[in-house]
Symmetry: C2
Subunit: 608 residues, 2 copies
Amino acid sequence: MFLARIKRVLVGQPLSNEMIEELKIPRWKALPLMSSDALSSTAYATEEILIALMTFSLLALSWSMPVAIAIVILLAIVTISFRQTIEVYPGGGSAYVVAKENLGHGAGLLTGAALLIDYVLTVAVSVAAGMANIDSALPAIQGHRELICAVVIIAIMMLNLRGNRESGVMLALPSYFFIGSFLLLLGAGSYNLLTGKTLPAAPLLHETYPEIPLFLLLRSFSSGCAALAGVESIADGVTRFKEPRIRNAKSTLFWMTAILAVFFIGLTVLAHVLGITPKPNETVISQLARAVFGKTGLYYLFQGLTALILFTAANTAYQGFPRLCSMLARDRYLPRQLASVGDRLVFSNGIVGLSLLAIFLIIFFEGDVHRLIPLYAIGVFLSFTLSQTGMVLHHWRERGTRWIRSLSIHGAGAVTTLTVLLVIASTKFTHGAWMVIAAMPPLFYLFTRIHHHYLAVGAELSLERESPPNRLPKVKHTVIVPISGIHRGVIEALRYAVSISDDVRACYVEIDPSATERIQSEWMKWAHEIPFVILKSPYRSVLRPMLEYIDDVAQSKNEEIITIVIPEFVTSKWRYSLLHNQTALLIRTALLFKRNRVVTSVRYHLKS
Amino acid sequence: MFLARIKRVLVGQPLSNEMIEELKIPRWKALPLMSSDALSSTAYATEEILIALMTFSLLALSWSMPVAIAIVILLAIVTISFRQTIEVYPGGGSAYVVAKENLGHGAGLLTGAALLIDYVLTVAVSVAAGMANIDSALPAIQGHRELICAVVIIAIMMLNLRGNRESGVMLALPSYFFIGSFLLLLGAGSYNLLTGKTLPAAPLLHETYPEIPLFLLLRSFSSGCAALAGVESIADGVTRFKEPRIRNAKSTLFWMTAILAVFFIGLTVLAHVLGITPKPNETVISQLARAVFGKTGLYYLFQGLTALILFTAANTAYQGFPRLCSMLARDRYLPRQLASVGDRLVFSNGIVGLSLLAIFLIIFFEGDVHRLIPLYAIGVFLSFTLSQTGMVLHHWRERGTRWIRSLSIHGAGAVTTLTVLLVIASTKFTHGAWMVIAAMPPLFYLFTRIHHHYLAVGAELSLERESPPNRLPKVKHTVIVPISGIHRGVIEALRYAVSISDDVRACYVEIDPSATERIQSEWMKWAHEIPFVILKSPYRSVLRPMLEYIDDVAQSKNEEIITIVIPEFVTSKWRYSLLHNQTALLIRTALLFKRNRVVTSVRYHLKS
């Protein structure tokens, strides 16, 4: 089992069912693992707000503060909604499940499509943003961004192919380091400003806000909404928490949101006060860190940790994507191979697929975060809207304790996220959101086609309308053994043939008439009880007369199964098989689409 | 049979045995078909002589006349020898057959290896020389020589994949055109000289011959010996002549040699008298044609016809190479697939292989005739020597009518060709002949290894020491049907299973324990008489417990065959098969190298 060994080396030992319980994670590990996606978005969300505003004028940058505050309010609304979702769906409140169960399969599939696209974009955006922060610090490697991004994605892929226990521990630490270093940045920055070590470039309060078109303001808001991507991951993964999992999940969600809000506001304020403006070759966060720390080792460390948390965020998608595929496959919207947790190998298909798609996006958009962002938020908010709406209907139908409160919260969440969705779709449409919108119908169609196929197969195979027989009726079947001579391998095949049927016949294609007589006399010696059919071959083809004979027998013995028993050699070394005819393979291929033909190879294992 | 249709379009209808007789060719067609290789060598043999002499001095070029005369004498000796070979081997006097039958298998294989290498070189040298003549006339395309050569080789390959009837007619005409145009060139050139229209640059008679090192003279002679390549083709192909085939072959051989001698001497004389010297970017024959015809349309036509006959010569190798492979394969020195004339497809392997090797040589030697030539003649003369020596032994053993005369002729031939072989090997060793010499032992080793394998397999499979049983004993075998649920496909497989054995058991790998009970109760309803084995899968792998179970059954039922009957789906469209588990394929692969396992797929054809 050579392949099995390769697989072990590459993806590690398989996990037993008992070990899955051990994989449940405590809060201190869940926070870094599940929130890296959300937290890391601070590395680009502020910058995107600023870029959008700067298209109007430099003065318009003062609007970044109100926009950031609006986004934090949005974040609070969404978080409160998700806390409720966790309570109702302790088994994992993926937007797909919530939408499917409450709004029907159509909405579920729409959500599923949006989420699949989002996972790919999470990988692409996070890795691209991580690289942007690395090459801000090391301008020498600019120009190789796509290549390095691809290498990073492949590295993350390999990590995930080896399973999430190993990656879990490795990925918890960077998040804590990032949180620590970010707090240090905010603290040091504030300290410098308060002590007058750095002079503010803009006032924080009593700001003047120039008039700018509402559309631009909304577009800036849309850009910043990327900060909310990843907030749903804790609600998705409730089952992965240690007990009491609902309480653990809720408190982890709270802490994540709190940290995200502080980081996002802190970063936006600091960037504004220090007068930082987006530049093409250096990220805002790099400029900020440089302004606060100077070009010290601390600056490089900070940039490294920022890149690391972004790569960790990409890793989040590797947890979610195969899990979502598995859910879709269990509902028969994706190939059933993806459904089973199975050996790790099954998930591998999803992991490799995700990586290739992300690499494709990176190459297509030249690893430019700014060009990827418009595609990102639309899927996030589509799934938010559908899941909030689903929760509204859930509470309306259930009307349990305090249902009015819950319904109101989700109602507010649904209205808000729908509004944001429409804002994003309209303000970002021409910037790339159209691609995501255009990709949805084909995905939706693919899901329904797959579903349709499975339903049709199920109906075709169903035994429901049949009544079971007393005993399974036997099949009458004729066995044909094609031979090219008489030797041990043929004798083995003939022995097998007479064991499985009373109606056995051998057939021999005559290429060289001078050999026929000898073979016939040997036949009489070794297998006289089996009819020996000699087929003429006017065109010296072995295959064609044989196939015609099989058809003839099938026609004369109407409705029966014909078994073709082929003597085949297995050579001691694979390369020797090149020295033998591949007749068995040819016959098998030729009969592949014929009904009522069973092709059986009786393999003779050669010592040579 | 989609593949079959593609094959028909590409390679044409198969030929029936009756049609093979029609393929016998009359003399008028045999001459151009079989002599193009020999005749076309005039296009480069003279030039190679001149190049070798010119390395000494321009004055040394006067030695070209004596060297050419020596080569024509050699040609006469070889031709007379071959006339005798035709008489003794009317079934085809390939050097391989002659050497093998008279000198033993070792000499046969040596000859075979030499000839195989030669066929490849014939293609490479002829196509390269053809291109050299085309780009002499059209200097614009110089620099793309390798590419165009490769395209030409591929075109010839396609022609041959379509079979030799079509190519026969197409290839007869260019040879006649070439003969005609060459005679015109010689005639017009002589006429111009005699009438004084052109003035001779060197005297033909009363020449002064400068002293030059013998080694250089011999090297020049060796280079010119390339003119003899292809002389053997008529003796090889005696069977292809119409009756009386011996007389027809002999007279064709005579005419071929006569034409070749006239052309070769004529060209050498004319080149010398007109004072033509080799140039890197224009062939000698092109310079000559330009000197005689001027840069007229006639010149371009002549160059085109020269290229055409050279390409036709490459085609000769496409006749000989697969035929030689087939002979070697019938003697079990090459894979037996090559042995049968079979459908045309069988020859295709040889044809494609020959083309790829020739293209490789062209690229390696940058399409330079001059660098390819030193490799060429050594194989030719090795096979000449071995076949002449074989004929000497033949006549010594037989001592038939006039055996002393025959023996003397072949003896003279053997001594001459051996001498030439040694001259070529020593004077051309560093120029590339070493490559051919180095390639022989590995080829020889390959032949013997293949032979050894076939002998071992033959001994292993032989029934000679066995005594035939009264009746073939049946095999007791257990059937295992792996199932994943109960549906029509499974029922079909179970019906087949109970038909081929009394000992059938189904096994089911439990991934989801909650489904087991339902399946068990369905089992009792549909197939209660068959034991139903439930396998636990602690690692959620389907394949592994199944393989372990099969091994367990095999061990408990020592020495029996285990048949694994797998229910398999055939979907209506191939792409739908991606939606189904490939368990059958996995099981088949896993059991491929296990003894006493027969894997049988019972395919259920889905309408969906």
